[in-house]
Symmetry: none
Subunit: 181 residues, 4 copies
């Protein structure tokens, strides 16, 4: 059911998402959706939780290795394959978060957790001399996270700007930006 909801949000946009469509996508009746989720807000919150779980898992995976390139590479890879619907859904939920207090909170907490984890990785990178030290890790994490959000925003509108070759160039540019002089 969650997967169905995410698929609908990704394909139709938040405004175009309805319990009916989610039910149809899941192959159930409308009643089934409201049986599992008390109301739309709850359904959407559950989606947000689920999507950020994916996100965190990726971060966990790269925590020990301090592989910033690998991490960003993975983000960019997501834009190209089937998982791009994950990104599209995330974007739609972020855009709506402000007007659905219930899960604005979910997003806030998860986001800050994500930024902290990223900052920790960057700190390690600075210690190992692979990340520039003239900008605080926390601020760098903010910029990287902003860049990734910026990509997220452009992806649905200009997917052609995320073709493999171009993706690689973007990745290298980011690495150059954060590398020591």
């Amino acid at each position: 059911m969650l997967a169905a909801a995410i698929a609908v949000i990704a394909n139709e946009g938040y405004a175009g998402t309805s319990m009916r469509k989610v039910a149809k996508q899941a192959g159930h009746t409308t009643g089934a959706v409201t049986y599992y989720f008390a109301n739309k807000e709850e359904l959407v919150s559950a989606c947000a939780q689920d999507l950020f779980d994916h996100f965190d898992a990726s971060l966990d995976h790269h925590k020990e290795t301090v592989d910033v390139r690998g991490l960003i590479q993975e983000w960019l890879d997501w834009t190209g394959n089937d998982d791009s619907s994950t990104w599209l859904a995330v974007f739609q939920l972020l855009a709506h978060a402000r007007h659905e207090p219930a899960f604005a909170d979910v997003i806030k907490k998860r986001y800050s957790k994500f930024r902290k984890a990223l900052a920790r990785i960057l700190v390690k990178g600075q210690e190992q001399g692979v990340v520039r030290k003239d900008i605080k890790a926390e601020l760098l994490a903010d910029q990287l996270s902003a860049i990734s959000d910026g990509w997220l925003m452009m992806l649905p509108i200009e997917p052609e700007r995320f073709k493999p070759a171009r993706s690689r160039a973007l990745l290298e540019a980011v690495i150059t930006l954060i590398s020591p002089l």
Copy 2:
């Protein structure tokens, strides 16, 4: 009427925007809205046009001076004052662009125009030695534009992260990132 529509989009989100609310905000009846805009799509396209006009004006203003710091400063300033509703509306429209082909196009064209103008400024910066040369201006423009989009995305959810002191730190970090070694 346009101003009313933008205000509603900023305050209620795209999904929460209705012709009724726009009419109410403008102090007119529903019929008046549909008199000026044949349908919702047209209204929304007009908003997108208007918002990007603001945007372009800012760019024009900084074209000659090669003042990247001033330009980014201005963007960040917008997040704090009354004009923040402009950003909020832009964000909502961007999130919906993919599902409204009519103005997805508007955004695409305007966006690429914006990126090109930014790249031209950066090229001049490189020539004058105030912008690093080891990353192509075009790619740098992409990253800056992505960062600004990322901020745009966080603003509605965590406005407290854009208070003056923090804004300044973000600005300095960006300048450090793009400055020559």
Copy 3:
């Protein structure tokens, strides 16, 4: 629900029919109507089907007996009693058929089926010597069907012209027209 729709069409005319009125007539809410019929077109098609079912039933009933007088008598009877709303609704739907392709087709098929059945009855009548043979049965069926349509058209405007005595005269005239010399 169908009965309610037909009643509304008969009483208010096609242009005066709305889903709201149908709902009210049926003692339900607007939502219930759209629950059973995806849209107005579907509702109207269903009405057309239902009305022609009545029609065909009458024809079936007279198929074996070759009782043309009885058949026409029955048509005329309908104009006088409560079933007259059936005729009124049929007329409204016919008038609108051209602009609602979905059920223009329904009407076309049903109508041709009806004319063929009528022609078959007339052929039998010719064989039994109770129907004139100098006009092909198929053409006679066309004229009879046209006459009945013509009555259908006048009924709502001049109901006083279909009072019993007058009805009988009309019936006798038709019988005289199609009887052998």
Copy 4:
């Protein structure tokens, strides 16, 4: 303006007719329509008047000659050429007459006048021995008028049944029906 209104009624059906469309068709603004006709009812009545004027003119033309065949021929001819829009509009107005008392009356008067004129022609025909005498002229007029109405009803739905060859057959059948034994 009248011509425009008739064209719209013929093309879009009564339910699909709006003052806006009439204005557009006439190349004027909405205000102009309401300037000439106080309201929609008045516009529609004026159309009815105008259409019946055409009708009466045809009858006048055949009054002296007692040429029933010519008269019916002319009706059938109308179904094929550009004037078919006249018929289509007449039909739409007839279908709506019952629900617009203002011009239901117009139609009633005009119709009875028409039937009387037709009956007078048939009486002359009976005197000259070209029309059967075993049915009263008045009843015959009714049947002919009903047949013509029936055709009017089928025309928009099955125009292919009024091609020249078929039209001729229909005409001959009618003549046979009303000719003396």
